[in-house]
């Protein structure tokens, strides 16, 4: 299991409504291309805002619950804003026994966060930490 730290500037300028429409049109408004559409939107926005998902559902003539189901099923998709800079810290067995947890604590201390807040997203310009599970 690994841990990631995101040092964040929540993107102000990221919400481009017309981009969503472009992406959907480029994929020919085909409901079977839902996953590629979501991938492209996530690349653009860095996450999948709820309103955008509802708009995608409307334009593809799919029920919003289906789009939400797909977006929450795949771990690649995220519905919460991700930060601009990602620090990925491996917590696999080897790294763990060599002290990755201590490194994590140093990061948290330097950035002024406590462990309890690790999975909460703050207002702009603060840290977003999320647990990412992958092994090295």
């Amino acid at each position: 299991m690994g841990a990631s730290l995101n040092i964040v500037e929540i993107p102000e300028a990221a919400r481009k409504f017309s981009r969503v429409c472009e992406i959907v049109d480029r994929n020919e408004r085909d409901p079977s291309r839902l996953i590629p559409i979501l991938q492209q939107i996530q690349e653009e926005y860095r996450y999948l805002p709820e309103e955008v998902l509802a708009l995608v559902a409307t334009s593809l003539d799919l029920p919003p619950s289906r789009v939400y189901g797909v977006a929450t099923f795949y771990s690649h998709f995220t519905l919460e804003p991700k930060g601009k800079h990602t620090i990925r810290l491996c917590d696999g067995t080897a790294c763990h026994v060599r002290g990755s947890h201590g490194l994590l604590e140093v990061f948290l201390e330097r950035l002024g966060l406590s462990t309890e807040k690790m999975s909460t997203l703050f207002a702009r310009k603060q840290c977003h930490i999320q647990r990412d599970s992958f092994s090295t």
């Binding site: 919400r15 309103e51 509802a54 029920p63 619950s65 289906r66 939400y68």
Partner: protein, 732 residues
């Protein structure tokens, strides 16, 4: 020697006769393979893994997804399979709310019954899930995710049979759950309250809302008079809850039981169903003569009406303007009964017993409130009625029969057949054909419209006119039909739509049954009831004619329209989502919301947003104007719709949008100065002085109103509420 087209099941030969899987074949052979997620009317899913069987040469397979083949050797209960089923159940039970005695599905729960049947005596696994709150937002249904076994029946029913898809699976693995999108509550999404999800749910995860306590409260209140209306479909189903055969007509015992419980009068919804026939048939004949607004859709099914308001705004003019029989009854009862029963209108409580969960939501709509009270106060389903009877300790099968009260208990067969699919059409035909022919109609049975198929069509020739009919049940079929009508691919004159499969007989409020053949038996009971009555045509109901003469006047006349007809509106499909399209720093003073719901989207709201955004950027206004995309301003047939500040503009073009923006912007500048003055005043006065402030604000609001501009500072609206109004500019 292998007999052609047979296989061996548990050592016995069984013929294969076109069953779609091993599960149905074994049921035919008298072996009940346990299953959660299999349902004969839904697609095959294979999620629950309880229906495992062992097939020689193929190992262990899910019998719901295996086609029977000649020569197969199948075992349904080897030791290994029995262990697997028990373990699966234990795992489900570990995270299940095991409080059976207080669950509404107690004794009709599939999980409960399988646990007993499969001999699960102990749950060896500990609970890992935290309980989640129950969703009680809807008027009709209660959603409890703690009881969900993730079979997916509700998802497939909502999607495949009703074409709505309000709920679906979300997340994955141990976090999987069935929920509306974005964590919203059920009444914030496009659920039409039909309750089919609750009808197919094997556990108590989705159940109809329970309003029995409300009825007990009014029955025990000496100041209130309680009258009950009983729907046609209820009388052929309530007996099932007491071990009687489906389809036996138990109206006499229902009356006796209700009177024993303590209600004052028991009437029959079929009386107002007869009334609906008169109103709707007259409306139909009028439309047919003028050739306008055809096809006419029936409007007595509230789930269908909500569906049409959400998905087919273009067809709202085609819906019959008649209220449903339940609502007509409420309106009529509240108007004529208070004097007869010697009570104030506010102390008269109308309770209806319905086979339907959507009626609960229908009764609570704002448009059915008169003089501060709902026309129909409480709606109970057949199941709730049975529970009330049990709670009172009444032994239903032993009751002596009693009669309905008059005059609202008198009906003809036409009103009774509303209780099944095709009934409304047949009842309307019994009126319309007699009127067109100009002579008494003797042959009152119209077999062409009877049956249980979910789309039936018929054509009748009457006096040189062709009447083309369609009868539909299940909203997905209705959706297809409505779409082909909009595309001009087919033409009908009258279309009956029922959301529940089988019409009202199969409604969610009816006694739980996993076997859908029971609908056929209930339907047969309804037609039998019709035959046993002496009168079969709504126009022969002389007590109804009396009622019209004394209370309402002409059929379709002015008072009839006031009391018995209604109107429809556009409904948004999802609440609370708005997407800022431009970025602003600080507080933008002008907000422009552009609707991107389906109808407006199709009419070009996307291009409108793009052009507006470019315009605002070009003029350097992006610091003070914020554009956002919202879902559904509920003016679907008059889109694209934008809201600038507080002004709503329909059929908006780019030029109009710019004009209004500039107009409002210039007024807002003056207003923000006035606002600053007002807040200074507000801060320094209290009590009596507030009245002065109010009058000052009223004056300001009046000035603004005369200039056709209204603003949203909440305090002004509150203070000047009688004067507040939205300015709507209609363009084009």
């Amino acid at each position: 020697m292998i007999i052609q087209n047979a296989l061996t099941l548990n050592g016995r030969e069984v013929l294969i006769e076109g069953e779609r899987n091993l599960l149905e074949l074994s049921r035919k052979a008298g072996v009940d393979i346990p299953t959660f997620c299999y349902h004969s009317e839904l697609s095959i899913y294979g999620a629950c893994r309880l229906c495992l069987v062992e097939i020689d040469g193929q190992g262990i397979q899910a019998s719901c997804s295996v086609m029977p083949e000649p020569g197969m050797v199948v075992q349904t209960h080897t030791e290994e399979i029995r262990e697997m089923r028990k373990t699966a159940l234990e795992l489900i039970l570990a995270n299940h709310d095991q409080n059976c005695p207080t669950c509404p599905k107690n004794r009709s729960c599939e999980l409960q019954s399988l646990t007993r049947k499969l001999g699960v005596n102990d749950v060896r696994f500990k609970r890992t899930h935290e309980p989640v709150p129950v969703d009680r937002s809807s008027e009709s249904l209660v959603r409890d995710a703690n009881k969900c076994v993730l079979c997916g029946d509700c998802v497939r029913a909502c999607d495949e049979i009703q074409g709505v898809g309000a709920i679906d699976f979300a997340h994955r693995g141990a976090d999987s759950t069935v929920c509306p999108p974005f964590g919203k509550a059920l009444n914030e999404v496009e659920c039409v309250d039909c309750g089919l999800c609750a009808a197919v749910c094997p556990t108590g995860a989705i159940t109809p809302k329970d309003d029995v306590d409300q009825v007990w409260a009014v029955v025990n209140d000496p100041t209130k008079k309680v009258v009950v209306q009983v729907a046609p479909a209820v009388r052929v189903a309530v007996g099932e809850m007491f071990g009687m055969e489906p389809g036996t007509v138990e109206m006499g015992r229902i009356v006796a039981a209700l009177k024993m419980i303590g209600v004052d009068q028991v009437f029959d919804t079929s009386f107002t169903a007869d009334m609906t026939v008169l109103e709707e048939a007259e409306e139909f004949l009028d439309r047919k003569t003028k050739g306008e607004k055809l096809p006419q859709f029936t409007s007595c099914c509230p789930a269908w009406v909500k569906f049409a308001e959400q998905f087919f705004p273009k067809l709202l003019d085609n819906l019959s303007s008649c209220k449903s029989p339940q609502q007509m009854f409420g309106s009529l009862a509240k108007s004529m009964l208070p004097t007869r029963l010697g009570v104030d209108r506010k102390d008269l409580i109308v309770v209806s017993i319905m086979p339907c969960t959507a009626k609960k939501d229908e009764a609570k709509q704002d448009k059915f409130v008169k003089d501060g009270a709902y026309d129909v106060d409480i709606v109970l389903t057949t199941q709730e009625l049975a529970r009330m009877i049990e709670e009172a300790g009444i032994r239903f099968p032993e009751l002596k029969l009693e009669s309905l009260d008059m005059p609202l208990g008198f009906k003809t067969g036409a009103g009774v057949i509303f209780g099944t699919t095709g009934g409304v059409t047949e009842a309307v035909l019994r009126y319309a054909v007699e009127k067109l022919k100009g002579e008494k109609l003797e042959a009152v049975d119209f077999h062409e419209v009877r049956g249980l198929d979910n789309l039936r069509e018929a054509e009748l020739e009457v006096e040189g006119q062709t009447i083309r009919l369609a009868i539909v049940h299940g909203l997905a079929t209705a959706k297809k039909l409505a779409q082909s009508i909009l595309d001009g691919e087919c033409e009908y004159d009258l279309i009956e739509v029922m959301a529940c499969p089988g019409g009202r007989g199969g409604g969610t409020g009816q006694p739980v049954s996993r076997d859908w053949d029971v609908r056929a038996e209930r339907q047969a009971g309804i037609y039998k009831c019709d035959k046993m009555l002496q009168l079969h045509k709504a126009q022969d109901n002389h007590l109804l004619a009396d009622c019209y003469e004394r209370e309402i006047g002409e059929v379709g006349g002015h008072k009839a329209h006031e009391m018995l007809h209604t109107s429809y509106r556009n409904r948004r499909r999802i609440f609370g989502l708005a997407m800022p399209v431009s970025e602003t720093d600080g507080d933008p003073t002008l907000k422009v919301s552009v609707c991107v719901g389906t109808s407006c989207f199709v009419r070009g709201s996307q291009q409108l947003i793009q052009r507006l955004t470019e315009f605002i950027q070009a003029k350097g206004l992006d610091k003070i104007v914020q554009v956002e995309a919202t879902f559904c301003s509920e003016r679907c047939d008059r889109g694209p719709t934008i809201i600038v500040g507080e002004q709503v503009i329909e059929k908006c073009t780019f030029e109009t949008a710019v004009d209004v923006c500039e107009f409002v912007r210039s007024r807002q500048f003056a207003w923000s100065r006035a606002k600053r003055k007002l807040s200074a005043i507000d801060a320094s006065r209290v009590g009596r002085a507030y009245a002065n402030v109010l009058s000052r604000r009223r004056r300001i609001a009046t000035i603004w109103r005369r200039r056709c501009v209204c603003f949203n500072p909440v305090d002004v609206r509150r203070a000047a509420s009688p004067l507040y109004s939205r300015a709507c500019i209609h363009v084009g």
